[in-house]
Symmetry: C2
Subunit: 461 residues, 2 copies
Amino acid sequence: MHKILDSIDATQPAALDRLFAFLRIPSISAQPAHRQDCLRAAAWARDLLAEMGFSARLSETSGLPGVVATNHAAGPHAPHVLFYGHYDVQPADPRELWQSGPFDPQLMDSPRGKKIVARGAVDDKGQVISFLEACRAHIAINGKLPVRLTVLLEGEEENGSPSLAELLAKERETLAAADFVYVADTNMWDPATPAITASLRGLAAVELRIHGPSRDLHSGFFGGLALNPIQVLVNILGQLKDSQGRITIPGFYDGITPLTKAQEKAWAALGFDTAGFLGGVGLTTPAGEAGQIPLAQIWARPTAEINGIYGGYQGDGSKTVIPAHATAKLTFRLVAGQDPGKILDAFEAFVTTRLPPDARAEFTRGGAAPGYGLNPSATFLRAAQAAMAEEFGKPAALVGCGASIPVVEAFKTQLGLDTLLAGFGLDDDCVHSPNEKFDLACFHRGTRAHARLLAALAVPA
Amino acid sequence: MHKILDSIDATQPAALDRLFAFLRIPSISAQPAHRQDCLRAAAWARDLLAEMGFSARLSETSGLPGVVATNHAAGPHAPHVLFYGHYDVQPADPRELWQSGPFDPQLMDSPRGKKIVARGAVDDKGQVISFLEACRAHIAINGKLPVRLTVLLEGEEENGSPSLAELLAKERETLAAADFVYVADTNMWDPATPAITASLRGLAAVELRIHGPSRDLHSGFFGGLALNPIQVLVNILGQLKDSQGRITIPGFYDGITPLTKAQEKAWAALGFDTAGFLGGVGLTTPAGEAGQIPLAQIWARPTAEINGIYGGYQGDGSKTVIPAHATAKLTFRLVAGQDPGKILDAFEAFVTTRLPPDARAEFTRGGAAPGYGLNPSATFLRAAQAAMAEEFGKPAALVGCGASIPVVEAFKTQLGLDTLLAGFGLDDDCVHSPNEKFDLACFHRGTRAHARLLAALAVPA
């Protein structure tokens, strides 16, 4: 292993040359004017992989092509990893806020040492090259990779992945053969602490419309006698949570594995800056379930959120109307163990049993995806923890993510694959913002950790 | 008296000629193209009053003029009545639904006898002429009216009365000298039962905005930990009424005189068709305070009505946002004894004491007017009841109106005058709709009742 790590250390200038060449291509997928640049970036990545010994090609879609590359020199019995990344980047606007050209990558000084500054420095070109440099070192020292590897680079991640489902379906045979997916598009907990994202919250969306009178009514002539559907709506939604912030829908928490004391302790030890997190958006006080630590409130516990509400008059001044209907849009953030369909069924029953005479509830269901939790005994998780601990001298934080990551959902749904989420970005990397950067130390130690992970994956359980 | 009534009966054809001449003028105040017609109608009414012996003139405003006429031949000690009506009418659209020309008045057959069909037949030209014919009969028989009478005809009632306040201020000396206002723009309870509107509900309007985070948040990254102002809004407004439909704002019902058993019995005896009233708008069940009869719920009891609500995402599909604020628009219908300012103060306290940490409430007050209740011992009310009972052989129903009538409020606020509301329209008159009509019997018996009222007012208490 030390030869591989030494090689990584020794070839850093060349690695940066390769990354900078990639960064100079303004592959902004959201802007049609940059379509040729996106195609250039795809071809550049394909050629890089081919030069490294992969069987590499572009895979056309109705949008931008994917890059698909395989290297199965490790033999049919080696573990098979599907590495996912993306070659496209966010727009660089507003350009006047950049200290250097967004597509003129620079190595700049920072309080924590050197940093790579460019659009895509960390999201995701830097993370992709960091991983591929680890592969390069393995091949350089051992002539081959320790695992079978398939690389999939998408070209539309920053534009909502409109062709991802098509790409996964088209390349199903190649991709679904993997044991798991590895995505290095996430962050470390802090500059000294690596992190593995072990859970994502799912989502179930529903629109609720309460119907009352057959038409809008004059509140003078009808008010007091006629049902007001806005009042019905607030009466019911006002019962959604109890005084402890717990959601009162019967069965809502069924199937959820409570946070273990060990996990809660580990998360408490991360020193999450609750005051800073809330203070940044004008708040001071955790508003979720009483008795849950703040990180559990956003990572491990489900929510019932009213995202929108409307009914009756919304213009200036007042209008004395009792409207015919009122509407709320809700989403439930779900955690592993909850079934989105059952949650929506339970919500509908919760509403329906609370309807007064003459009120009718209309439900329109939207997207639904279950929460995602890594199996804590997964082989690849054990290998990742070992690799991280060796490189950083401390265990990786097993963190959660309160949102969904659509690509993880797509891999699970379309290919049946679990995903290891472990990247080396930092919260101050200005992702999607001007002056995006990737700490050189993160790039470099990330490559070393990737190399260790590839080796660890090859060790039989 | 019988000579006066005989005169009314005998001169009905001439009375109808006068009314039809008035109805032929398309005095649509909302349509600038009809401005000259409005001025013609004003001049026509002024000339009619002058011909009857009134001192009559137009009173210019920044909009359409008022008609002001006085007849004080009854002498300085006679009661002084201010009669209010309006010479303008609603637009006649959609014209294709009229069975005859809206400004080509016709006497048509109907199941209840003849009816006068035209725009303005009842609202308000028919009611105005019905009253003036009663005056004409008094003058014809006795040479003068039994009361001092001031007539005020507005020209913009169907267009929101934009110049009414100006007109009342300008004519204050003439108008405020009256003892009370008489408005004949309301309906009978049914074709056999006259009605006096003895109470109007007032109004207090307020917009409530709940502020939470300083900006819209991603519900994945913040959901569960961050305050959702829509949830705060529905939590608070969901507590506005108890399970019995009573408004829970402390002090809300203070100062209200409960409905007497006699009044409740009298209203119950009116045989209000609750099922028909609610059924017409798709409802079946009274939704107001338990224990209050339906007519009390719309006439005698105050309300708290959410007229509008909005916050967060309202477009198609779903958006996983926790919005920075959420807003509701409320109006309280008030009854006599409630102070609008105190009600809004109490509502603000109700909201403020329920705010969780980090939530801030912003209140924007709108219009406010107290409820109106006739003094049951008012001389003019006793006279009106006697006149109605004599003409119809049964007492007038003392009804309420759940809405405000702005002109009544203006007379009270600007001139300090109470208003007697007693008209002879019926609920099926198609007011503001095609084929507006006034039953000939209502026009005729209305004139007779007006004549009796004028006589009754002159009898010392």
